[in-house]
């Protein structure tokens, strides 16, 4: 075959396109086939056990239909998975009622534990975005043995809750699966609450809540709670929530007003205005949180925004005689108060 530039060019483009089609992250053939192969009987069975354990903790009975829906497979496949579990004595069936055996329940709790511990690990030790925690844990939960979970739990300081406020089974002697608190929907206007849990599925609702600044551990006030509208006050700004979002948030009532709402974000302080650090936001975790603490951004520290970079972000702040540049995303997580309102320490 004789060389021609046009032919070579065409072959080159075709080759590159083929490589891209195979290796493209998440959408390529390789990634797809890996995802497909993951849906083995073992993994589907484990997912079913996890789902059933969650349903039993919530005292909502599960059916083969609901299992199929949760696993994302058709009824046929779900029935086969359930039959397999019954055969292995992990599950029993009376009429329409599916009940986990002791062994089945233990297996289900192990998976819930693996999932939530892995989310805690991702939130504390890696740089993955909150939106990625859930699906990464969904994959990893199947590869973690009981012993490796012990090690993981020890490395993380024996956490009791995952980053969204779900309790981690096995952390306490009594296995708790359901989060604390009550649904946000039942809270009356004017009530102060602390967010105890944010549901991370479906991802779109979770992302909307994250964008609104709502996450586990946050204190906020319900401003308006009527049928049509639900409005909360989060860190000094007012946020409207849709019914799906309200339904995915669990809270505990606070007896007192939380004046911490009077704080503003450091990123909003104009240049030259001294302010006093009140606390770091709950959304800032792991290495990032330690870094800010190391820089001296702790309660009572005076901070002055000194000057901005040409693009406006980052900004240089004076903290305890030294000059430190922070990006807007970091400064947003530092809650501060005007210097006058701070009582003498």
């Amino acid at each position: 075959m004789n060389y021609s530039p046009l032919l070579a060019l065409t072959l080159g483009v075709v080759f590159l396109a083929a490589v891209a089609a195979v290796f493209w992250p998440r959408r390529g053939l390789l990634a797809r086939s890996r995802r497909q192969r993951r849906l083995t009987d073992r993994i589907l069975g484990e997912d079913a056990l996890k789902f059933l354990a969650q349903r039993e903790a919530a005292e909502r009975p599960a059916t083969i239909q609901s299992i199929a829906g949760s696993l994302g497979v058709d009824l046929n496949r779900a029935a086969l998975v359930v039959a397999g579990l019954i055969e292995r004595n992990l599950l029993s069936r009376t009429g329409d009622q599916l009940t986990l055996s002791e062994a089945g329940k233990a297996a289900g709790l192990h998976l819930i534990r693996a999932h939530r511990l892995w989310e805690a690990y991702l939130s504390q030790k890696t740089g993955y975005e909150p939106a990625e925690w859930h699906h990464r844990a969904d994959i990893r939960e199947h590869d973690l043995s009981v012993e490796s979970l012990e090690d993981l739990s020890r490395d993380l300081g024996y956490p009791v809750f995952d980053p969204d406020g779900d309790p981690i089974p096995g952390a306490l002697a009594t296995d708790r699966v359901k989060p604390r608190g009550v649904g946000l929907a039942g809270i009356a206007s004017g009530q102060w609450v602390r967010v105890s849990h944010v549901e991370d599925e479906p991802p779109s609702v979770y992302a909307a809540l994250r964008d609104a600044g709502i996450h586990a551990g946050l204190n906020m006030q319900v401003e308006t709670a009527s049928d049509g509208a639900f409005r909360v006050r989060v860190n000094g700004t007012t946020v409207d929530l849709g019914p799906l979002e309200v339904g995915n948030v669990t809270v505990e009532r606070l007896d007192v007003e939380d004046d911490r709402g009077a704080t503003i974000a450091l990123s909003e302080v104009p240049v030259g205005t001294p302010v006093v650090v009140e606390r770091l936001g709950e959304a800032c975790r792991g290495a990032e949180r330690r870094r800010l603490l190391d820089l001296g951004l702790v309660r009572g520290t005076v901070v002055v925004p000194e000057f901005r970079s040409p693009g406006g972000d980052p900004v240089a702040y004076r903290v305890r005689e030294s000059l430190v540049a922070l990006r807007e995303t970091q400064a947003r997580n530092v809650r501060v108060m005007a210097q006058e309102t701070q009582e003498a320490v």
Partner: protein, 477 residues
Amino acid sequence: MSSEPRPIDADTVLATAERLRWEVGAGLDDALMEDIYSHAARIADRAVTRDGDTRRFDLDRAIDRVVTSRVWGFPIMLLLFAGVFWLTISGANGPSAALSALFLDWGLPQLHALASGVGAPWWLSGFLIDGVYLATAWVVSVMLPPMAIFFPLFTLLEDFGYLPRVAFNLDAAFRRAGAHGKQSLTMMMGFGCNAAGVVATRVIDSPRERMIAILTNNFALCNGRWPTQILIASIFVGAAVPPYLAGLVSAAAVVGVALLGVLLSFAVSWGLSRTVLRGEVSTFSLELPPYRPPRIFKTIYTSVIDRTLIVLWRAVVFAAPAGAVIWLISNVTIGDASLAAYAVRFLNPFGMLLGLNGIILLAYVVAIPANEIVIPTVLMLTALLGSLSGVGEGAGVMFQSDNLGDTYQVLRAGGWTLLTGVNVMLFSLIHNPCSTTLYTIYRETGSAKWTAAAAVIPLTMGFVVTFFVAQVWRLLA
């Protein structure tokens, strides 16, 4: 009234602890840690007295307002770096020529005379003198002077406190690529030497951003590659335009290649931060230390010792065996052809596809240790394999003429065209880092996997870029 201390059974204690752990919720650890920090800060505030030097502080702020201002920030930065580059290039010319005269023009014949004086066989003196010694001497004379000027100047700016402000000014651009503002500094350092640039990434304390800076440092056109760019641009690109434009166009071509490198380093940073490095921990911190008068002698001493000599030593360690290999492949023959001839014959079709040729590819393989000796190797192989009479110093002896016209003639005879010149410039920018840099990357990351990635990523990109440039060029020409 007194009550006997009642023994409490362990189960009650555990149950209480359990209830409390459940009730205090998730934020306890963070709250506790924050309290410890603020307590420590309060104790320190009570115990430590400070004498405020506000005059000094105000001066610092005045400087900061100028060097980070929207209007003056970037012009000052460009001016300073242009000055550093100008000083390096103009200052290094003389010493480089002197070293070259000493090691090559004077030292080489002397060593040969010595060797024939003691009756050494031709293959031994060829291997040791034309191979090992020549490559080492070449690398030292090309590499040492610019580094000995560039690094101290750079360190002076660092010592004065200006460089963190550069990182501050440029952070917005690097943030968008998923990188750290301090990568601007390691990139600058990379223009001097990629190995030094990789070492300099230690200033980035966030693991993800540091890895990005390490993997993309190679796209900063290093000291060893500038001469290649300038040479090829003057004899091929400059020759393609009218003479009165030649200087301008070839200079623009070199600057264009360097800017392409900057662009690619942003693009690759962006890609890495969104794919393989997505899960690495990322934190940002950038301290802006107070300005202070630079300590000139200490700076020069430490930068010469710490940066220049260490890098030079590593380069020498790698260049010596490369010289040996270059001499051997040109002199060891199987049948009637040298090893180099076989390799070139094998690589030629592949080189042709990339708009290069087998000799260039072979030169890049054997000259992995140092980019400085790529062009001399190319010239030697071209003269040797093309059997050009009256050119070159013999098999395995690298050479480079001071006369651009001679070099042009050799390369033309070797079949070079303008396309070859352009693609050599591109491939010189986009290929695997030299072995000194790769070794440094291995030392810094401690990972064979990342070291391999640092070589494979740019090499693949280089193949793709030169391939498509060659095909499109041939279609249009």
